[in-house]
Symmetry: C2
Subunit: 281 residues, 2 copies
């Protein structure tokens, strides 16, 4: 496994694979890797000849009061984990390598599907994601790019701009990896106190309870209200509990496949999760 | 020479060249070709193995009161001209092929350098250019892309987003092709009446006169004022006469290289031109 910190170095490392027209897989991350990321790499290994994992904490997707500075940087540990799952190349550029010294004037924005859910609390966040992911796609030029379904809205935004801009690659969504108690794995779980960590699985419990209620005929509005209550009673500050179609359109009743979304805070730590509930007519 | 009307067809046509790692050149146009366009193709032929010319009148870069519907579509004539200069593949997609049936939610905007000059009179124009050019870049995946310096601001915008987004190609600007009387070639020249066509070269005359005045020590402000007067007296409605640095920053005095910009109307026809004036210390 190689580690490249410059665009030029990465291009040189990928050049033989590109010349041989090997299948290149790409897993963009912000590092501080957990089993969820490693599962993305494992999926990539199944269908790609060469797997590139980027580790880059992207400043422009963090809001002014968010955790950019404190976001954990754990490159050495991440490298060991990635070597173990067969990653071929780590791309770990500096902020300067990615954004240069001249001001960036270009923005990419995706309308409509970024206006609510996490977009509401994090203005500019998805623009920052769209810009950095587009840059990374252009640098790596992979055949396949792998993203976790935990950041479902992010995955939908990426699918959208890839289609709208004809970016020549296929986006692959990988199901959420969960701890044994159901908590969706996230780098931010590390911020949780022991007490909060014990409460955190309530999110997934609320999602699976909601799924059961939907299948037993409880109305969508009531199900969402029940989730909010359950989370609030457990000690969460609820950002949102919402239902959307798989394409993130609003939905009033459980008359088609639905995705349930939760964002909620425990102390200063904001956790998100989602569950796809199939409609069986 | 092949003509492809679908993305799939183009990809198939380019596949052997891509596999053989040939150098692919790309000249995006809106058709209605003139010597200016053909010179772009000639430049491309010099350094590329395969030259693709796209012909696509891009609806999203036209304002509601602009000439999208009446913009001349002359594919057959264009094809003959392109065959003569050695174009290898024409890519002439439909609007549906480029934009599909689902709504486009993604926008690309370049700030600062799009705020004035043509950006002022044509809100959204450069966003439309950025989106379609990015799409075409992703479809064609060329090594080099060629643009005329006549649309200087457009060229600057394209250079900017190519750099900001790490698009893996080199942008090449090609000097303006002029009629013998100095008029910059443009598809829109065809809209001019005989009377207006006779007046039109005043634009270039005003630019070269300005260059001489600058070199003989007349202040930049006075030079710009002289240009405006000359054009107005000739019968133009002046949109703007402006000076900028080559990177499109405002400039108060001729103390470095400067680009002079004109946009002016004759009847309903809006003409633009520019001249780069070197500063020799």
């Amino acid at each position: 496994m190689k580690t490249e910190t410059t665009i030029q170095g990465l291009s040189a490392s990928l050049s033989p694979a590109r010349s041989a027209r090997k299948i290149i897989g790409f897993v963009p991350t912000m590092g501080n890797l957990h089993e969820g990321h490693l599962n993305l790499v494992r999926e990539a290994k199944k269908i790609c000849d060469v797997v590139v994992v980027s580790i880059f904490v992207n400043p422009i997707q963090f809001g002014p009061n968010e955790d950019f500075d404190s976001y954990p940087r754990t490159l050495e540990q991440d490298s060991h984990l990635l070597a173990d799952v067969g990653c071929d190349i780590i791309f770990a550029p500096s902020v300067e390598q990615m954004y240069g010294n001249k001001p960036r004037l270009t923005n990419i924005s995706v309308s409509d599907i970024t206006n609510d859910l996490c977009g509401l609390q994090r203005p500019g966040h998805f623009d920052g994601v769209a810009v950095v992911v587009t840059k990374l796609f252009n640098i790596v030029q992979p055949n396949y790019a792998f993203f976790g379904e935990k950041d479902y809205q992010q995955l939908a935004v990426i699918r959208q701009f890839v289609r709208d801009l004809n970016i020549p690659l296929e986006v692959i969504g990988v199901p959420i990896t969960r701890a044994k108690d159901g908590l969706a794995l996230s780098s931010r779980n590390g911020y949780l106190s022991a007490e909060h960590r014990a409460i955190a699985p309530t999110i997934y419990q609320s999602l699976t309870a909601a799924e059961q209620q939907l299948h037993s005929g409880v109305s969508l509005a009531e199900v969402l209200e029940n989730m909010k209550q359950k989370l609030t009673q457990a000690g969460f500050i609820v950002d949102y509990v919402e239902a959307r179609t798989p394409e993130l359109q609003k939905i009033e009743a459980f008359d088609q496949d639905v995705v349930l979304f939760v964002a909620a805070k425990l102390g200063k730590t904001r956790l998100i999760d989602n569950l796809q509930v199939k409609h069986t007519a």
